[in-house]
């Protein structure tokens, strides 16, 4: 995953543009705007978040106005409009998960990472937030990590600790 600073210009790679093209081909002529949500997911997977410049370039690619991209990117909760930790832990905070202890899990994550909801750890590796129902109520508490939205279910404090350690090791190896 590349990372970009705020408002630094981006240039989509040939591979990314090829994927854009495949998506646009799914829709009838002149309906290329339909590709907006899937393309924003690809851009976010590439850069970790959606900078203004990246959204402007998506608008240009789809021949739509920049505001149309901003409107969509700010409506849907999966799109990040500022940089996040390398691993964003999204914990379900809705009723059924709370019946089986999601609130405790969130508290534990906050203690363990030492950052509040929405903040990034000093090493840039983690951020976390509560999200609304992830449609996995029978396996709660649950959390997911983008960009592939890998899923972790039946969480316990112990399994969360192990997950954080594993991710930290993984990041070390990649570095």
């Amino acid at each position: 995953m590349l990372s970009i600073q705020e408002n630094q210009p981006v240039e989509f790679s040939a591979a990314l543009l090829e994927q854009f093209g495949e998506i646009v081909a799914r829709y009838p002529e002149n309906q290329q705007k339909s590709a907006l949500l899937p393309i924003l997911h690809l851009v976010q997977a590439e850069y970790g978040w959606l900078s203004t410049d990246s959204m402007d370039k998506v608008a240009a690619y789809l021949h739509i106005q920049a505001i149309e991209v901003y409107e969509v990117a700010t409506f849907y909760t999966m799109y990040f409009l500022k940089p996040q930790g390398k691993y964003m832990l999204e914990v379900c905070r809705t009723g059924p998960c709370c019946l089986v202890g999601a609130e405790k899990i969130m508290q534990h994550i906050e203690n363990r990472l030492g950052v509040k909801e929405g903040e990034i750890t000093a090493d840039g590796l983690f951020s976390w937030r509560g999200v609304e129902c992830m449609a996995a109520c029978g396996y709660g508490p649950v959390l997911q990590i983008g960009p592939e939205y890998t899923f972790y279910e039946n969480l316990t404090e112990k399994s969360v600790d192990e997950l954080i350690d594993t991710l930290r090791d993984k990041a070390k190896q990649q570095a």
């Binding site: 203004t52 106005q65 920049a66 505001i67 149309e68 901003y70 409107e71 700010t74 409506f75």
Partner: protein, 338 residues
């Protein structure tokens, strides 16, 4: 021989009217006029696709049509529901409608700043009218009101997002009157806001019309900002030969000075013709315009209340030289505008 035009008969609050098929309940009511016309905060007949959002125009359909007389199960948005032949509608005669509308007014006001004393829209604000005519006294809301970060959208238009009721009219203006929309609705739910996202001045030729269509003080004329209360200004219809628009406007005078220029509005507060930015912002001298006549003003309105159309000096003035002197200017203007 002219072909016979099929018309639908619809009854609103017991008053029958015949309208063309495809007419909405709201527009049928407007054809009748008067108190039975539902209020509309988001619908704007000159902008395609508006309506349905504010829910102030909800009415009860007590009979669907001649063919299918069943009532509709829920209250419907009269601005987006078309009439059927034989339809019967209840607006102010339905306690359900009055109650629901009261609820909508309360909802619209819970986060509205109520900063009317410093709002340029006060006096011609549709939310003030709505609250006065359809709302309840007081509010049951006890929490802090929602606020937004201020953003600058240029030197012509002032955006006060805190006052916005999200009618989306200004978005339709940009879509339908300009070739590039630079503002829109961002975020969602009660965090939704009108914004440009990045700092940007709105300066398309026709974008100034967002001011006229805004039912509240969210989008106001920056060149008129804090210049005067609208009820102290005197509207006069005028026109000019404009290469961009029809050039038919209302000039708002204070003394001899044109404080602001707007489109001409009808009794429902909708402009008759959209005007260009040049007419609105750049031509503010009487010499730019051919004056027509004082804009007809509803007697009940705050502008009317300021004795504009006919300055009716209390009889005591006629007998008192001192008072005549004190009101000299006002009397002179009344003479001038007669």
């Amino acid at each position: 021989m002219a072909e016979e035009v099929v018309k639908f008969k619809v009854t609103i609050d017991g008053i029958p009217v015949e309208v063309e098929p495809g007419t909405t309940i709201l527009n049928a009511a407007r054809q009748i006029g008067g108190d039975i016309v539902p209020p509309a905060m988001c619908y704007y007949s000159k902008l395609e696709g508006t309506g349905g959002k504010c829910r102030t125009c909800l009415v009860k359909v007590s009979k669907g049509s001649e063919k299918d007389p069943r009532p509709m199960p829920k209250l419907v948005a009269s601005c987006r529901t078309t009439v059927m032949d034989g339809m019967e509608v209840q607006n102010i005669t339905s306690p359900d409608v009055v109650e629901a509308r009261k609820g909508v007014v309360e909802m619209l006001l819970i986060n509205h700043p109520l900063d009317c004393p410093v709002c340029d829209q006060a006096g011609e604000c549709k939310l003030q009218d709505l609250g006065y005519e359809h709302g309840d006294e007081g509010t049951r809301y006890e929490f802090e009101r929602r606020t937004f970060e201020r953003i600058d959208i240029g030197d012509k238009i002032q955006l006060h997002m805190n006052r916005c009721i999200l009618c989306y009219r200004c978005v339709f203006v940009a879509n339908q009157l300009t070739d590039e929309r630079e503002h829109g609705v961002l975020n969602r739910g009660d965090h939704s806001e009108i914004s440009t996202f990045i700092h940007k001045a709105l300066n398309h030729d026709f974008v100034g019309n967002v001011i006229d269509v805004c039912p509240v003080g969210a989008l106001t004329d920056k060149t008129f900002r804090f210049k005067n209360r609208v009820w102290f200004t005197k509207p006069v219809d005028a026109h000019r030969d404009c290469p961009t628009c029809a050039g038919k406007v209302t000039l708002w005078y204070k003394g001899d000075e044109v404080l602001r220029v707007t489109g001409r509005k009808d009794e429902y507060g909708e402009v008759e013709e959209f005007i260009c930015n040049t007419c609105r912002f750049e031509t503010k001298h009487t010499s730019d315009w051919t004056l027509e006549e004082p804009t007809p003003v509803d007697h009940e309105s705050v502008i009317g209340a300021n004795h504009y159309l006919n300055f009716n000096p209390p009889s005591v003035i006629h007998e008192d030289k001192k008072l005549q002197l004190a009101n000299e200017e006002q009397l002179a203007r009344t003479e001038r505008l007669k």
